[in-house]
Assembly symmetry: C2
Homo-oligomer: 326 residues x 2
């Protein structure tokens, strides 16, 4: 550990979500020393949002010994662009849905010119896995986040792939079905996200309920309100249809990973997010389908792992890890 | 230019093809100072092949002032693995179709321990474009080689993507059609290569000839013997069906590139190989289809270019460029 790290042993992580903004002050081993949170919504101007953040942050900064102990800050945020530290046209943030907001700079100015880095949530997850999680020591891996959407963070030769514009790694929007594919929020059809996100899983449930007569615990629910959590609970109770929904989802993910291998031949695919709580129900079909679809030369080269970061604080840890990279 | 480069101003390139093995001695600006070639076939043992190569090589090495003037050697070869300098199970090479051949080491031993690097043809093309061609100064781009097969060399953050095993960048084997896809030489169905290689183009021609009644210059040929060159010649004469074949091929390539953008968001896609001689006939539908299929955030970020390396010596230049990386 360098002298600088000893003198400045902490980084700040901000997991900027549509509902909550969660802060953590983290040491080099991924231990969260102090944490706080504010609501993300309720601010028309980004300056007001940053003011509220810094007010909350100052309390925990004092708890760890003041700003002198902090090396840098990392932010994981929707539509975050690493290259220029901005959030760009984020539909769920009232102060950033309509333009380009220089969030990293605004925080830096309010924190005595602390280095501040920012990237999207999935890239933050990938850096988090590399710094504190199951990807420690790995040079080539792909993190796939299964949440409301499907995101990805790709690491090649030990570096995150940002591409020419900072937007690389949108594997949720690789087209999986060219004909008759499901419509996707991005305006196109057949994207991986339309099938394998939490909302995609709920969609699969509704499709199966309306096109089959098969009995299922899911029939007791209002189809329009079914969530991936409902499917997970039903599957946990042994419901055959719910299990098949995970099977279908995992098969599609495995097929997608087989294509991703042809790109960067990673040593691991790491799955992140609430849906991974389904465990083998989702991981087994992923692995089976990958083996079936992958090009022979890649067979057996990649591991399939679940995130090694503690669920509740995974996103904050990921964001904080950007700080060590600054 | 460093002192070492001044003292050792040249690299050797070997373009190892199924028929010919072409050597060039190249300077840092991509000028070929001397060249020679031998037949690739006719050697049962790799040692005999290397002996024959070195015998031919020694003549041109003397022409440029001896081995002291040479910094390193690069080899572009089918199934070449950069990490360990081997050729692995190359179906078209009698001395390497059935095992792992340490070709880089064998050349190094015969050339006074000269550093020797080896990779597959498409990766060599990518390094060549970065060193001498249209990708000079680019950090993120993808070379797609359109030949008997479809190969690719991917550069991210200024480095070639080899993946965990040296086999990354097999974009010809990304699945483009999940149902009813064409069979591919790799044993799977629906791969990009089955549609967009030279053999894929000939296949498209045969399909159109047998499923339509449309008049075409191509009907004058034996369908089983049609090549992509025949299609190109017919298209050059204004043949509507031949033009449509290129249209179909370009559309599929553009669709594939749209998916590749979601991975690494390159600043350019660079097309390499005989089929690029069709010019706008193939490039226009690629660009049109890309714009139609790509995720909005990537739109307009990538250029579509044709290789900047002189056709006849492009492969040798690419191979030689590996030498500068050693």
């Amino acid at each position: 550990m360098s002298t600088q790290t000893e003198m400045k042993p902490y980084v700040i992580g901000l997991d900027l979500g549509g509902t909550n903004s969660v802060f953590g002050i983290v040491d080099a081993r991924g231990e969260i020393k102090a944490t706080t949170a504010i609501k993300t919504q309720g601010y028309d101007r980004v300056e007001d949002y940053v003011d509220a953040c810094v007010e909350a942050l100052n309390v925990i900064i004092e708890q760890v010994g003041g700003l002198d102990k902090i090396k840098a800050m990392g932010i994981g945020a929707p539509n975050g662009n690493f290259y220029n530290g901005t959030i760009e046209f984020a539909p769920n943030l009232e102060w950033a849905h309509n333009g380009v907001v220089p969030l990293a700079k605004l925080f830096s100015e309010r924190l005595n010119n602390l280095p501040v880095g920012l990237t999207n949530d999935a890239n933050a997850a990938a850096i988090g896995e590399m710094t504190y999680g199951v990807a420690r020591g790995m040079k080539n891996f792909i993190v796939i986040t299964l949440g409301t959407g499907v995101g990805s963070g790709i690491v090649v030769n030990g570096q995150l792939v940002y591409g020419c514009d900072g937007f690389a790694g949108e594997l949720g929007h690789v087209i999986m079905r060219h004909e008759g594919g499901r419509s996707c929020g991005c305006g196109r059809n057949g994207c991986l996200e339309a099938y394998c996100s939490a909302t995609g899983v709920a969609r699969t449930a509704r499709e199966l309920l309306s096109t089959t007569q098969e009995p299922s615990l899911l029939r007791e629910l209002d189809p329009e309100k079914i969530t991936s959590l409902d499917v997970s609970i039903a599957a946990g109770k042994g419901d055959a249809m719910a299990k098949r929904i995970y099977e279908f989802t995992g098969e599609m993910l495995g097929e997608a990973c087989a294509n991703f291998a042809a790109f960067s031949s990673p040593e691991a695919f790491i799955f992140f997010g609430g849906m991974t709580k389904a465990g083998d129900l989702i991981m087994d079909p992923i692995k089976r389908s990958y083996d079936e679809h992958v090009l022979k030369i890649f067979k057996g080269h990649a591991q399939f792992l679940v995130s090694g970061l503690d669920g509740a604080s995974a996103a904050v840890l990921g964001a904080s890890a950007i700080g060590w990279e600054m």
